[in-house]
């Protein structure tokens, strides 16, 4: 079964196409990396799929059905820089926001919701920070809060926008452990990823993107010198997972 299927997706800003003729499908239960150069439209792709940006055309289905946020089967981790961290709230409260879709109108979070949020905090090694104002958290901790918030959404397919950017080693480990646990439970995780060094190690499925899909398939088939060069164009410094540095031009 496909976790995600995208047909004929086009997104345009000021009449210029940012994404064009995007066709792709992502298998259920995969850990998928979306890889491509700056400006390739990686975040745009996620936002267009989730309806946060207007699509000029395109049909999106999640687990075989047209995407509808009300189905609550899609979890989302936005880029850390997309919110105002000075907002008057604490870590636990942000995680509880992941339950709002489930709670329903006018109601306050229940004891069960709070227990779920605390469990997620604990899982990401943040149990001591529940009452902390979010501005006082480090970048890595803020990222972990966002992961925990997505976790309590209890979704089937997760979209994450650059969760590894600017985080410390401890956070990177916490995130990758969580991704593997989600995969183990049969969930699908689709991640916009920047660090080419870790693609082979972390992800079993890879989508190479530059304005359109360059390649999409199992990581070992897609993450090749030729296809990467086609994606990035020009010169690309590529670090193999074994550590020897090759420069392709």
């Amino acid at each position: 079964m496909e976790a995600l299927n995208v047909k004929d997706l086009q997104v345009a800003y000021d009449r210029k196409a940012v994404l064009d003729q995007v066709e792709l499908s992502i298998p259920q239960g995969s850990l998928t990396a979306i890889v491509g150069p700056n400006g390739a439209g990686k975040s745009t792709l996620i936002k267009a799929i989730l309806g946060m940006l207007k699509r000029s055309s395109g049909h999106i289905s999640i687990l075989g059905k047209p995407y509808n946020p009300k189905n609550r089967n899609v979890g989302y981790v936005p880029q850390r820089g997309s919110v105002d961290w000075d907002f008057p709230t604490n870590a636990l409260d942000v995680i509880l926001m992941g339950r709002y879709g489930h709670i329903g109108w006018f109601k306050r979070p229940s004891k069960g919701d709070i227990a779920l949020a605390k469990e997620a905090l604990h899982k990401l090694g943040m149990a001591d920070y529940a009452d902390r104002q979010i501005r006082q958290l480090s970048g890595g901790q803020q990222q972990r809060i966002f992961l925990a918030r997505a976790l309590v959404q209890d979704a089937e397919v997760y979209f994450m926008d650059e969760p590894f950017v600017g985080v410390d080693a401890k956070t990177e480990k916490a995130i990758i452990d969580l991704l593997r646990e989600l995969k183990h439970k049969g969930k699908t995780v689709i991640v916009v990823h920047h660090d080419l060094q870790t693609v082979l190690e972390y992800f079993d499925h890879t989508l190479l993107l530059n304005r359109t899909v360059i390649a999409n398939g199992p990581t070992e088939q897609v993450f090749t010198k030729d296809l990467l060069q086609k994606t990035y164009g020009g010169t690309l410094a590529f670090f193999s997972p074994t550590g020897d540095k090759r420069v392709m031009s």
Binding site: N71, V74, F87, P88, T89, K107, Q133
Partner: protein, 302 residues
């Protein structure tokens, strides 16, 4: 003077009503203002308040007498039109939001003043009392005016209470709100409309020029006391209420002092106190934190 204020509050039913309604108005603007501040829409509130003036004048010219509900409908119409135009200008042209707000605010207010001068020049026009809408005159409010304002303010407070959770998520992270299945567009429109209503019901007591201050000053003051949105809203409501009560009282017992400036001056007093002694990044707290870290640094370097 305090004695006079007590006497007025205890023995004059008219004063009691005016004070009650400005108190409710203060709470509503503190609450809605907190959301507007965090949504970075403080200036929109100011534009709406100024844009209400032509609406009031047009409504008066159309019906030929001062009926508050009709005037407020006119104010709501031009207020909403102003928000819509600001939105339209920022999305379809290269003009930035601050410039668009400035443009709309001054053009609408200017037209309002032109219409107002015409009205006051007409026979009997200077008795219309419309000039009270510029700086606010709570004492000039009739019993029906007071009921209208108190009812609307109560409704606004109730809606904000019911939608607290949804608005919090909408303001903090609109994309995530959308992903959670919340009707983001509807909630946005509802918030803008309620913000316009808050401003509009306040202009008779506070005036179009200063109404935005009653939205924003309680909210920024409250931020110095807490790091939780729930408390911020409550504290901003309380500061708004105090400002409303004190401003209305002083203006009723004195003759000729406009209510709006008195309310805003009171709110500004609350802001200065909050700015200095507020436990969250207030001046004293900041100085102490600075001293503690300086001493720690000294100890470590020894």
């Amino acid at each position: 003077m305090i004695q006079d204020m007590w006497n007025a509050l205890l023995h004059q039913p008219n004063t009691q009503w005016v004070v009650l309604s400005t108190m409710l108005l203060g709470i509503a603007s503190g609450v809605l203002g907190s959301f507007a501040l965090l949504k970075k829409q403080s200036l929109i509130g100011d534009a709406v308040a100024h844009a209400a003036l032509p609406g009031i004048c047009i409504a008066y010219l159309l019906i030929g007498e001062k009926q508050l509900l009709v005037l407020l409908l006119g104010a709501t119409a031009t207020g909403l039109l102003a928000t819509y135009l600001i939105q339209l200008i920022t999305t379809t042209t290269r003009i930035k939001k601050d410039a668009a707000i400035c443009l709309i605010l001054s053009v609408f207010f200017g037209s309002g003043i032109v219409l107002l001068s015409r009205i006051t020049q007409q026979a009997g026009g200077n008795k219309s009392g419309l000039d009270h809408f510029i700086f606010g005159q709570a004492a000039a409010m009739t019993r029906e005016d007071v009921y209208t304002m108190a009812g609307a303010a109560g409704g606004l407070i109730l809606i904000a209470f019911l939608l607290f959770k949804e608005w919090k998520l909408l303001i903090f992270d609109p994309d995530f709100a959308k992903n959670s299945g919340l009707p983001v567009g509807l909630l946005e429109t509802l918030f803008s409309t309620l913000l316009v209503i808050t401003v509009v019901i306040g202009i008779q007591a506070v005036g179009v020029i200063l109404m935005a201050a009653l939205l924003i000053i309680p909210a920024i003051s409250a931020r110095y006391w807490t790091d939780r949105l729930g408390w911020m809203v409550v504290i901003a409501g309380a500061i708004g209420a105090c400002s409303g009560i004190v401003g209305a009282l002083i203006s009723t017992i004195s003759t000729g002092l406009a209510t709006g400036p008195l309310i805003v001056v009171t709110a500004a007093g609350c802001f200065i106190v909050s700015f200095i002694v507020g436990p969250k990044r207030g001046l004293i707290q900041k100085l102490m934190a600075h001293r503690v870290s300086a001493e720690r640094l000294k100890e470590e370097s020894l």
